[in-house]
């Protein structure tokens, strides 16, 4: 029975994907016809020749599909063919004022699935190239991002979990710190960034700080909640055994609260991964967030979407790792 459901769900997933891609393909497909030649009348030819345009150039331009009006302009500006070539070629100059009938310009449409597929393959095939400070393979950039996340997140866990314990075990602390947590928790990473840049004065440390501050809250609140809600009979048993507070915390409360703490850590890693992309988009330099910004800055939507897909995959893997950890500490009452 379970197997049957699994098979059906897989089938449904694939169908949804296929239908989605087909619709996407139909919406973005532009048939590649190449330039369509333009026929010039004798009168038009004579006009151009009268403006000292060379006959072979006229033929070449017309074959490239440049309209007469533009040829006339080129002739009256005294632009030689070599000047046109220096300016990037006749095709690029042939872009006229758009009207309803004009074909979409290259790059002005949402990329088609084939384009994305091509870029995705190119990216995966060569993940570790270095073509300069501002252009490295996605493997290297992903490494930068993961490293920042790892540092910021570890620091965050090192602060949040002990602090969460303290808050969870002491109602007085809980009440005292609660207002601060409530105010700081909803602040966006994008708001922290400029403040961090200004005060820390180092963009690398600022990125790490922003990850730290944003992944702090879920771990802190979850740990506190888990510790505070450990079944009181267990704590009472520990008391009757005259265990010290530290021993109680480590042998009774920690294992009991572990699933809740890990849940907090799982939420935090997701947030850290969200934050790093935003932080790197803002600061630039290195990392997968910078890649997204760089491709967007060049208005290369296809490569930007590839970067986004990869961010999604890595985020999913991080989440899956914590899901395993969650299963490892789960217990049945």
């Amino acid at each position: 029975m379970v197997q049957k459901i699994d098979m059906r769900s897989t089938l449904l997933s694939l169908t949804i994907l296929l239908v989605g891609v087909l619709i996407w393909h139909a919406a973005t497909h532009v048939p590649d016809t190449g330039p369509t030649g333009v026929e010039l009348s004798q009168a038009e030819m004579d006009t151009l020749l009268g403006k000292n345009m060379l006959p072979e150039d006229i033929e070449y331009y017309a074959a490239q599909g440049v309209e007469f009006a533009q040829l006339e302009q080129i002739a009256s500006l005294n632009l030689s063919r070599s000047m046109i070539e220096a300016a990037g070629g006749i095709q690029a100059l042939g872009i006229s004022a758009p009207d309803e009938n004009s074909a979409p310009a290259p790059g002005s449409l949402f990329p088609s699935p084939t384009q994305i597929g091509k870029e995705l393959w190119a990216t995966i095939a060569d993940p570790f190239y270095v073509a300069g400070t501002n252009d490295m393979g996605f493997g290297i950039q992903m490494g930068y991002s993961l490293l920042r996340v790892l540092i910021g997140y570890s620091l965050s866990a090192a602060v949040a979990i002990p602090l969460g314990f303290l808050i969870g075990m002491s109602p007085m602390f809980y009440k005292a710190l609660d207002p601060f947590i409530q105010v700081l928790k909803p602040i966006s990473p994008l708001a922290w960034m400029p403040i961090a840049l200004f005060t820390i004065g180092d963009s690398e440390l600022s990125s790490i700080f922003v990850i730290f501050i944003c992944s702090l809250w879920p771990m802190l609140t979850n740990t506190a909640f888990g510790v505070a809600n450990v079944r009181s009979d267990w704590v009472n048993v520990a008391r009757t055994h005259e265990l010290s507070t530290t021993k109680t915390a480590l042998t009774v409360i920690l294992p009991a609260a572990a699933p809740t703490i890990i849940t907090g850590m799982r939420i935090s890693i997701g947030i850290a991964w969200l934050v790093i992309v935003a932080a790197e988009m803002l600061v630039g330099g290195t990392g997968i967030g910078y890649v997204v910004w760089n491709e967007w800055n060049g208005l290369r939507l296809d490569r930007m979407i590839v970067a986004i897909l990869l961010i999604g995959v890595v985020g999913m893997l991080l989440d899956a790792a914590f899901a395993r950890l969650q299963r490892a500490v789960a217990y049945a009452e």
Partner: protein
């Protein structure tokens, strides 16, 4: 490296390529006294050292200034002898001290590994192309250029000391020095990396509405508050009778987002740097309404800035770095240079843009998005000398719109912030050292009044000028 032609060798032609003077013998040292031949051989050996090359080029231009032709130079050397001539010429012209200066600077670079910031726009052509085409290496500098996501981050990284120098907007070093919009830290405008190079772009639906008088309610985007873009746009609409603070909305938007916003009609237009003006045409979402050079010919735009601290701590590195940037700027101005720079900047490491857009911008042959092809060779221009007039105009306009909140002595302040004299000296020395380098702006009067949108602006009368302008926020 080409074979070194010693201007002190009487046997060879140095300047004329056509060999109009008498034949050069196969052995360049034929018929010379041993002492002279040894002196020349030593000089040839030294010249293989790149550090000496600069000084040798300088000598060559001095000799050319003295003798004009190879014929008279060779005649003089034959009669005076090489060692004698060396001594004689150095009394006329302190060659040795100049050589020593250049060589010392190259020898004693305080810092060779440098990090410069740039924002990916064509204004930074000399800084980017300088890296791609190897201008920095010539002066023994190992420069890393880092792409920066926006002007605010650029500013922060400059103030943090993460960048040794940076591509900045002309008003930024002034704002940074005065501490408006940031903590105060003295920065200098070293040279212009470009002039012109901006445009006003409007969404396609406004093709029949190109009179700024009718733009009430328009939403415009500019890349940064302390920018020429903002100041020029405000000036433009104010002259048309619109109050830029009340009748239109000016938003600060990163340039790549401008194209997307124009497509979705969130903004009606923008005054932005290229490539994002031509990009709007390429993507068929907007058209070029006006190039900013039609508002002010050779207006400043972006600069290369260094902090005062860097300049005082690293005088030799500053000299080498400025020289390489100036050289790249001069090279970008030439017509061959324009194509080479455009091609070098297209990869993802630099501008990450289609090469034909960059070529259209740099050569000035472009479609304007209204069905016309234009030919404007100085659409973007590379005139490195920052003038006091430019500095004064910017400062006084910052005052006009109340970014600076007290009337100041603009002229004196501009003197302090813009390194006109230093840059000009550098340019002259470079022209003396390399006859191929021409800086057409090196000899202009830096206090000359300029014509901005049909009104004459004289730096001496800056305060009266802004007081007489419409919508001035200087009063009250």
């Amino acid at each position: 490296m080409t074979h070194f032609k010693d201007p002190f060798n009487p046997n060879i032609d140095v300047w004329n390529e056509c060999g109009e003077a008498s034949e050069s013998p196969a052995d360049p040292y034929a018929g010379l006294s041993k002492e002279d031949a040894d002196a020349l051989k030593l000089r040839a050996k030294q010249s293989l050292n790149a550090e000496v090359g600069m000084a040798r080029a300088l000598e060559s231009s001095v000799m050319q200034g003295l003798f004009k032709t190879d014929i008279s130079r060779r005649a003089f050397l034959r009669s005076a002898g090489v060692t004698g001539a060396l001594a004689a010429v150095s009394t006329v012209f302190p060659l040795t001290s100049l050589q020593a200066m250049a060589e010392e600077a190259m020898k004693n670079l305080e810092k060779t590994k440098l990090t410069l910031g740039f924002v990916p726009i064509t204004c930074a052509t000399p800084i980017i192309g300088g890296h791609a085409l190897g201008f920095y290496q010539r002066y023994g500098l190992d420069v890393d250029i880092v792409k920066t996501a926006g002007w605010a981050v650029s500013r922060d990284k400059c103030l943090n000391g993460e960048y040794d120098g940076s591509h900045l907007l002309f008003p930024m070093p002034m704002a940074m020095s005065l501490g408006i919009g940031s903590i105060a830290q003295p920065w200098k405008v070293v040279s212009n990396v470009n002039t012109n190079g901006q445009a006003i772009v409007l969404a396609n639906k406004h093709r029949d509405n190109q009179d700024p008088k009718n733009w009430k309610g328009f939403k415009f985007a500019v890349p940064f508050e302390y920018s020429m873009h903002n100041l020029l746009l405000r000036n433009y609409v104010a002259d048309a009778g619109l109050d830029p603070d009340r009748d239109i909305q000016i938003r600060v938007v990163p340039p790549p987002e401008m194209v997307a916003n124009l497509r979705s009609e969130n903004v009606d237009g923008y005054l932005a740097p290229d490539p994002f003006c031509q990009r709007a045409v390429y993507d068929q979402v907007g058209f070029i309404h006006k190039l900013t050079l039609d508002l002010w010919k050779q207006h400043p735009c972006c600069v290369f800035g260094l902090s005062e601290k860097f300049i005082t701590e690293n005088p030799n590195t500053t000299m080498a770095l400025t020289t390489s940037i100036l050289e790249a700027t001069a090279s970008a101005e030439t017509s061959e240079g324009r194509v080479a720079f455009a091609e070098s900047m297209a990869p993802a490491n630099y501008l990450n843009q289609p090469v034909e857009i960059l070529k259209q911008i740099l050569t000035g042959v472009f479609p304007d998005g209204q069905g016309n092809i234009k030919n404007v060779p100085d659409r973007i221009s590379f005139m490195p000398l920052p003038t006091q007039t430019m500095g004064t105009w910017v400062l006084s306009q910052l005052r006009r719109w109340n970014y600076i909140d007290a009337d100041t002595d603009y002229a004196t302040l501009a003197e302090e912030l813009v390194m006109t004299t230093t840059t000009r000296e550098r340019m002259r020395a470079m022209m003396a050292a390399d006859p191929n380098l021409t800086f057409s702006d090196a000899e202009q009067d830096v206090y000359a009044p300029v014509d901005i949108q049909g009104r004459e602006f004289a730096p001496a009368a800056a305060q009266q000028f802004i007081d007489s302008q419409p919508f001035s926020r200087t009063v009250g």
